[in-house]
């Protein structure tokens, strides 16, 4: 029968397995965002998305089961989920930043600075310096992109859309941003043991203030946020606030590997498998949450967005609620860097970037 033959020809479309659960994850995340925006404009009924985003829906069809993530919380708040993914073509990014719709990645081995448009996926490749001597660090603030060049030793302010250098200033060994402030470590003080952390004017890159820190050896890890600028010593045993009160916290009993500063939190993660918070107002250790009970897992990156802490460990990204102090999600993502945008957190993985929120 003729109709039967048409059905036979179309049959392959029925045979492909579909991942309905993954599709639902993406839809509910986008719905949550859309509805949050609409909420602000007063459309009350759209608020129900909060329920849609967390409801566990199991439908009769065995092939369509909408299961929540294993680490779902119990309060009904929207949980982090993967909402986007874009190919970057950078296998081993050495630095990562996001400015608006642009992702910027540096490749140390090729000497390239790559822009990826998060909407269109278009890539722009700039050749900056030489292989193994190019961009050491990237940071963004106030819609601007900053980089630190290893070959010239300069901090550069670049056009976030084109990558064109707008301003360059004296050397540093690290560049970072917190809020709309720009900081460079090592700038203007090449003499050891004293090292200097300087605050730069975001536009002119002129030094507006500086703090000499007593740590010796390699430039330690720095993080800046509304809760101040904090330094983690190379051995992870000493945390020091360098802006303002210059308080220090002894971490020698449980050294940390990575550090992040949020609006109200200073968070450390250590290879002992715990995430620890420091109260920025008192400098005292606060809560601790285990992320790897057996330890021996070295965190590679950490970020804060809203109430969530994003922690990268080998092959996984874990998220934790700051207010509830519980793990909220576990993604199978091999993240090497995080970059925080106004909408969420981007994780740079080999050859791709993943947006989580």
């Amino acid at each position: 029968m003729n109709d039967v033959r048409v059905r036979e020809l179309l049959q392959p479309l029925h045979e492909r397995p579909l991942d309905s659960a993954a599709a639902w994850q993406r839809v509910r995340a986008r719905v949550a965002i859309a509805s949050a925006v609409r909420d602000r404009s007063g459309r009350r009924w759209l608020r129900a998305v909060a329920i849609a985003a967390t409801s566990l829906v199991v439908v009769g069809s065995a092939s369509v089961v909408f299961a929540a993530r294993a680490h779902r919380g119990t309060t009904g708040a929207a949980l982090p989920t993967e909402v986007g993914r874009v190919a970057t073509g950078v296998q081993q990014p050495s630095a990562f930043a996001v400015v608006g719709r642009s992702l910027w990645l540096a490749s140390w081995t090729t000497g390239e600075l790559v822009r990826v448009d998060t909407i269109t996926g278009a890539r722009t490749v700039l050749h900056v310096g030489q292989p193994n001597a190019s961009v050491l660090a990237l940071a963004s603030a106030g819609g601007r992109l900053y980089d630190l060049r290893a070959d010239t030793g300069q901090v550069e302010l670049r056009d976030a859309a084109t990558g064109e250098v707008r301003q360059a200033a004296r050397s540093g060994a690290e560049v970072l941003t917190g809020g709309n402030e720009v900081w460079a470590a090592g700038c203007c003080a090449l003499a050891t043991p004293a090292q200097t952390v300087t605050k730069l004017d975001p536009s002119s890159l002129r030094v507006t203030s500086s703090v000499v820190v007593p740590e010796e050896g390699e430039i330690p890890q720095l993080a800046a946020g509304r809760a101040g600028v904090w330094l983690l010593s190379e051995d992870g045993a000493l945390l020091r606030e360098i802006d303002g009160r210059s308080r220090s916290v002894n971490l020698s009993s449980q050294p940390a590997s990575v550090l992040v500063v949020g609006s109200t939190s200073v968070v450390l993660a250590g290879s002992d498998g715990t995430l620890a918070a420091i109260d920025p107002t008192t400098g005292r250790a606060g809560w601790r949450v285990p992320f790897a009970p057996d330890g021996g897992v070295r965190p590679t990156a950490v970020a804060i967005f809203g109430d969530e802490i994003y922690l990268a460990i080998p092959q996984h990204v874990l998220t934790f609620s700051i207010s509830r102090r519980v793990k909220t999600a576990d993604f199978s993502i091999d993240a090497q860097w995080f970059a925080v945008s106004t909408d969420g957190v981007w994780a740079a993985t080999p050859s791709a970037a993943v947006e989580l929120r």
Partner: protein
């Protein structure tokens, strides 16, 4: 976020409608676009837009209809874009992006159909919708479904040869 019982009911209903309709919608869109990735994106876009619609649309037929019509409109826009970009020819419709698991011949033949005709053929012979249901989800009359489906099958036969015949109705 504080939500009322009415909101909760709408959200649950939306999730259930998605669960029941997603597979048919994606298969339909894959037939329309010729690749799974575009199909998945289009269906997700349509469901996100659907959420912004009044909750009375959250039933299976209304939701499926909304998604199908969205996909149909996207297919029309895509066709216009392709027409502007290059001369319309048979080879263009079987481009490298096509990745559905159909035979090349049927894929090319489907792509040669105008979007609405293609939608009618897919609704009737891929999803086994009745003429009445096809008319409802595509927002057209039953008479149009009949004529478009007939013409679609005739066009398929022209491309595929006698293996697809047309039943005179």
């Amino acid at each position: 976020v504080v939500v009322g019982e009415q909101d909760r009911a709408a959200a649950d209903l939306f999730a259930e409608v998605f669960a029941r309709s997603y597979a048919d919608c994606v298969r339909f869109a894959a037939g329309m676009f010729g690749d799974w990735s575009s199909a998945d994106d289009a269906v997700q876009d349509a469901f996100v837009r659907l959420w912004a619609r009044p909750p009375r649309l959250f039933d299976d037929r209304a939701a499926t209809g909304y998604v199908f019509r969205t996909v149909l409109n996207m297919a029309r826009m895509r066709q216009r874009r392709d027409r502007r970009r290059r001369d319309l020819e048979a080879a263009t419709v079987c481009d490298a992006a096509a990745d559905v698991d159909l035979g090349v011949d049927i894929r090319v033949a489907l792509d040669l159909l105008p979007p609405r005709r293609r939608a009618c053929v897919l609704s009737r012979y891929l999803l086994d919708l009745s003429e009445r249901d096809t008319a409802a989800v595509l927002g057209i009359s039953i008479g149009t479904v009949k004529s478009q489906t007939h013409k679609g099958l005739r066009q398929l036969r022209q491309h595929l040869g006698d293996e697809v015949g047309v039943r005179d109705e």
